[in-house]
């Protein structure tokens, strides 16, 4: 441990929820607004305890609509901000996730996925919000979503989520399943100076010349002034021009804005996307998995190898933008792709789209049990 209270450098034994909170603080998060919900409550509890120690703001809002609105407000006022929730709260947040996408507010939303729909199974794991994370708010927009499969990665990917949100001025969703959120593992928190941090681009023009939604550079991302800095700028959820002026009648303005909001993620997809490839070089059968399911999948692949089956694993760390290229490359080589998910068929649809010619086997799982390595192995053996 160092004297730095924000970055608890050293080895810890933490749950995924707590590691996520520590990752946020290490990434520079100084504003958390939330509302209690199982299985994400521990993130709020940790933030309530930890943020005051380092001069950060914890506020418990009246609901998730308000939590999401408050973190956008705090982001516009200059703080790195986050909220954390689970399915029912994530549904309420969709309204203002759209506002964050539209007004390009950097912020992080953690959704600890439990079983749905509706109130569902609050204490059980699920991966049923994967499509909601991508398409949950109305209208066309792009988003970034990350999925950790260990407590260490809950820390690492929360840091990464903040960096991506600052770099691309976009809300980033950390999609953690209940199992990862509630399991306890060793976490190594590096020294503060070894943690790479990204901060939003600031304008370098005088206030009179600032266009808050005019992209600068190849990445299509506009520099961001904050309230109180003297720029006196306007932002709106309405379709707007580069100056933030509403353009509700202009087809050109609608096309320019919406296409840029999408393209700033699509064109940078290869810089954003992270996957883990295990024994894929000569794989004839492969598993595509994410979150806690990838741990069973890894076991299954190793057991299959022991039995002489050329099996491999493509683990999706970035869920959105979808790793199309990586999946398509895999489909060119593997005879069979197996997709176990804790839902009734979500990411498998994206895989089918990206891997048109491949033979695909989907393994749904609903309820409290995770896929066992044996269940996945059985399919790999049957190929």
């Amino acid at each position: 441990m160092t004297g730095n209270k924000a970055v608890l450098t050293g080895e810890h034994f933490l749950s995924g929820d707590l590691a996520c909170a520590e990752g946020a603080i290490a990434a520079g998060c100084r504003f958390f607004a939330g509302y209690p919900i199982t299985p994400a409550t521990e993130i709020a509890e940790r933030m309530a305890l930890r943020l005051p120690e380092i001069g950060g703001i914890y506020v418990q809002m009246e609901d998730e609509l308000a939590s999401m609105a408050a973190i956008i407000g705090a982001s516009y006022a200059g703080l790195k901000s986050m909220t954390a929730t689970s399915g029912p709260g994530f549904s309420l947040m969709q309204e203002n996730i759209g506002l964050a996408a539209m007004t390009e507010a950097p912020c992080v939303v953690v959704n600890v996925m439990r079983g749905g729909p509706s109130t569902g199974q609050p204490t059980k794991p699920g991966q049923q919000d994967v499509m909601q994370a991508r398409w949950g708010s109305h209208g066309d927009y792009e988003i970034i979503a990350l999925s950790p499969n260990s407590v260490q990665e809950a820390f690492d990917l929360t840091v990464e989520a903040f960096n991506l949100s600052e770099a691309y001025r976009v809300p980033v969703i950390l999609l953690m399943d209940e199992t990862v959120a509630h399991m306890w593992e060793k976490v190594v928190i590096p020294p503060a100076e070894e943690i790479r941090l990204v901060n939003r681009k600031k304008p370098n023009v005088p206030p009179g010349e600032y266009a808050p939604f005019k992209p600068e550079g190849e990445d299509l991302v506009p520099p961001m002034a904050c309230f109180g800095e003297g720029y006196r700028f306007h932002a709106t959820g309405l379709t707007h021009d580069e100056f933030g002026n509403p353009k509700t009648d202009s087809p050109e303005a609608q096309f320019q804005l919406v296409s840029r909001l999408c393209e700033k993620i699509r064109r940078n997809a290869e810089n954003i996307i992270k996957t883990e490839k295990v024994m894929l070089d000569d794989a004839e059968v492969a598993v595509i998995a994410y979150g806690v399911v990838s741990r069973s999948a890894l076991s299954a692949v190793k057991k299959a190898r022991e039995k002489g089956i050329k099996a491999g694993l493509l683990r999706l760390i970035t869920l959105w933008p979808f790793p199309e290229k990586q999946v398509a490359e895999l489909a060119d080589k593997a005879k069979l792709i197996v997709i176990p998910e804790l839902n009734y068929g979500q990411m498998v649809r994206e895989v089918e789209r990206a891997a048109k010619e491949a033979s695909i086997r989907f393994l749904p799982k609903l309820g409290e049990n995770l896929h066992t390595p044996g269940e996945i192995l059985e399919v790999l053996e049957a190929k």
Binding site: F31, P52, I57, E62, L65, A66, A69, G73, A77, S81
Partner: protein, 280 residues
């Protein structure tokens, strides 16, 4: 000084000229409310760089785009929740929410009562025009009983909110109601609220002749202003629960002006205590 500079409107510096003309109808009270607000800012000689104006959705919601200050036009009902994030992230800012009765008290009602309960230092100015103007005049949480709107074609069957009573009961430390006829009092009241710390609320009864008035026997802005003149009664610091808004009588004035620790002051004291190692 050139001739053009001589002709500049005295309030021009507070407005985004590129956005004028505004979208509001003839006879609408929103312009008066905007003018009162910037007049108050001007007279107090406040630094416009340190004011953030947040609005929701609706006719008055466009006000955020017109002021030459940092401003955000949020989603419907969420202005106060957004403003909570702004205020806590940068307590140096004067955070003003200007929005309508439907936005603040129907879809946004929960945020209003909780912000008032916390006594966070946010100033709320509500244009109450008794209906949803922007969508063409539907019944809302302040529409008087029996009034005609497009969704109460047989007369409104719902009891309206008494907004000043709601604000007072929820914990607001400054509460007033004026009409757009009472411009000087309204401006003075906004000044007073801007100078106080804590959750402040001013309801401004605002004419909507084009959308609401014409369905309720008041076809012009002048008729609505004459009505306000006829029925308004100033009763400062009377019981807000008895401060009626009806066709025959509108009680206006200040209702609450008290001191109570603000949310952010308690929050920052707590942070200080924790940082000094005296957290618990």
């Amino acid at each position: 000084m050139t001739q053009n500079e001589n002709l500049a409107h005295p309030m021009e510096v507070f407005l985004r000229k590129s956005r004028i003309p505004h979208i509001w109808c003839s006879g609408c009270g929103n312009g008066i409310i905007l003018h009162s607000f910037i007049q108050a800012v001007k007279e107090l000689e406040m630094d416009s760089d340190k004011i953030a104006v947040i609005s929701g959705i609706g006719c008055i919601g466009r006000v955020a785009g017109y002021v030459n200050m940092d401003s955000f036009h949020t989603t419907h009902g969420r202005a106060i929740a957004f403003a909570t994030g702004v205020k806590l992230a940068n307590p140096e800012l004067t955070v003003v929410v200007i929005s309508g009765d439907g936005d603040l008290f129907a879809i946004g009602g929960n945020h209003f009562i909780h912000a008032a309960r916390r006594n966070i230092d946010i100033k709320v100015i509500c244009a109450n025009n008794f209906n949803y103007g922007m969508t063409g005049g539907q019944q809302g949480p302040t529409t008087p009983l029996e009034a005609y709107t497009t969704t109460s074609p047989y007369g409104n069957i719902e009891h309206p909110f008494n907004l000043v009573s709601l604000a007072a009961a929820s914990g607001a430390t400054y509460v007033a109601r004026w009409t757009t006829l009472h411009v000087r009092r309204l401006t003075a009241s906004i000044q007073k609220m801007l100078q106080k710390r804590g959750f402040g609320f001013i309801e401004v009864i605002s004419p909507c002749p084009e959308i609401y008035g014409r369905r309720n026997k008041m076809r012009t802005g002048l008729e609505m202003m004459n009505w306000l003149k006829k029925v308004s009664v100033i009763e400062n610091f009377s019981d807000p629960a008895k401060a009626e808004v009806s066709r025959d009588r509108i009680i206006i004035g200040e209702f609450v002006d008290m001191e109570k620790p603000t949310f952010e002051s308690i929050l920052y004291q707590t942070i200080k205590r924790v940082q000094e190692g005296k957290g618990r």
